[in-house]
């Protein structure tokens, strides 16, 4: 995320391929969005195999949604400085591993979900902050 730059943003009409080409290009297309949402047409083969039902075909969340806020509610998130630094480091780590941009919003929820699966360790962290202390 670059924040708000001064001067023009990217050219929205830059990758001016014809509308049909969206189904031909592989998902690892170099340019971001506008076609990205449509390119999942080529993914639907795998999705259809997984769930041969009359319900919605389960395309993975990242490709199905319109954007990172889709299907999510905004919550205020207050973080200490070390946590923010560690978060940024983790983001960079994952961007290296996946070799693509990783959304901070996605990373945060993923960290939270994993944390929810490790309540004992989470308890230790809360105890370090002072929860459960008794004063004799």
């Amino acid at each position: 995320m670059t924040g708000m730059k001064k001067g023009a943003g990217e050219n929205p009409f830059a990758d001016d391929s014809s509308p049909e080409s969206k189904t031909d290009t592989a998902p690892e297309a170099e340019e971001p969005a506008p076609e990205q949402a449509e390119e999942t047409d080529s993914n639907q083969g795998e999705g259809a195999d997984e769930k041969q039902s009359r319900q919605q075909i389960q395309i993975p969340y990242k490709f199905r949604r319109d954007g990172v806020q889709d299907g999510r509610d905004r919550v205020p998130l207050f973080l200490q400085k070390e946590t923010k630094v560690a978060e940024r480091d983790a983001l960079r780590e994952f961007e290296d591993r996946f070799e693509e941009n990783v959304s901070l919003t996605d990373l945060r929820e993923a960290l939270m979900k994993v944390g929810l699966q490790h309540l004992d360790e989470t308890e230790e962290c809360l105890e370090q902050w002072g929860y459960g202390m008794t004063f004799d």
């Binding site: 670059t2 924040g3 943003g9 929205p12 509308p19 999705g47 395309i59 319109d66 990172v68 806020q69």
Partner: protein, 291 residues
């Protein structure tokens, strides 16, 4: 092509009049602008230019095109006023979110993806807009939602009218977080071409606020309520209003017109566009060239 959306968190800072007057300024300089306003409410850019007469009729409109149910060619939507092509707003814009969601649900039931925020770009691209126009201006409402996201997704640059006050400054600061959200949400890079302070009365506090705004400020528009109200009354741009509806030419209003000419030129220069017939800024009688 120069593409931008006018954005302002607060109402009443001249977002729509700024979009309208910049569009006319680009046209005056010999460029071909297309304006796509997306405000579902009355008192919008279509009203300012007097092209809102069919907003309640069941005619073809931009929303139909965005949900892939057009009732005609995109070109037939366009109305031309003061050398500017406009796609008039329509009351269906009030239900844009629902229409888009319904289309998305149907598409997904068929195993297709449907980008709710990418539809305006698709429509404009399919209509060949980059080949036919030099400038694309969107004027969305400020509320977060599909109108705003579609506009930003289709233009990727912002022109920000801002009130030179503490409230205005807070709005600009809030804009950082908001736009970072857009960029994340839409997976694009958004730039700010200019901040345009309006309603400036040259007080010390106002001047202080302006020093704290970190975006290019090519011109500071002074308080011009009378001129802008006149534009709404006569349903025209400030250029036309001064030329045809003022009994006499007032220097300070001519200067405001010159400012719009200069802002338009600044924006054009940001993307390397050299306008073919630039006027002397504020030259009221400069004719728009029509091809």
């Amino acid at each position: 092509m120069l593409t931008y959306s006018t954005y302002s968190e607060a109402g009443g800072v001249g977002k729509t009049t700024t979009a309208a007057n910049l569009a006319v300024a680009h046209a005056r300089a010999g460029l071909k602008p297309l304006v796509v306003p997306l405000d579902p409410q009355d008192g919008d850019l279509s009203r300012l230019f007097g092209v809102d007469d069919q907003r309640t009729d069941s005619v073809d409109n931009i929303v139909r095109h965005m949900i892939r149910r057009p009732n005609g060619d995109f070109e037939d939507l366009i109305r031309t006023v003061e050398g500017v092509d406009i796609v008039p707003e329509h009351n269906m814009l009030s239900d844009l979110a629902d229409f888009l969601q319904r289309e998305k649900d149907q598409a997904e039931a068929m195993g297709e993806a449907f980008g709710m925020h990418a539809q305006l770009l698709r429509v404009l691209r399919e209509a060949g807009v980059p080949d036919k126009y030099d400038v694309l201006i969107c004027d969305p409402p400020a509320t977060e939602g599909p109108h705003l996201y579609n506009a930003i997704h289709a233009t990727r640059s912002l022109v920000i009218p801002v009130e030179p006050s503490a409230k205005g400054r807070a709005a600009v600061e809030g804009l950082e977080a908001l736009v970072a959200g857009f960029e994340d949400q839409l997976e694009i890079d958004v730039g700010v071409l200019a901040a345009v302070p309006t309603g400036f009365k040259n007080t010390r506090d106002q001047r202080q606020v302006l020093t704290e705004i970190d975006y290019p400020i090519p011109e500071i528009i002074s308080e011009r309520a009378s001129l802008m109200e006149g534009c709404w009354m006569e349903q025209c741009s400030a250029f036309k209003y001064v030329r045809e509806h003022r009994d006499r030419r007032r220097d300070y209003e001519i200067e405001t017109l010159a400012q719009f000419d200069r802002i338009a030129k600044h924006l054009e220069q940001q993307v390397g566009i050299e306008a073919p017939n630039p006027p002397e800024p504020g030259d009221v009688d400069h004719e728009v060239m029509t091809v």
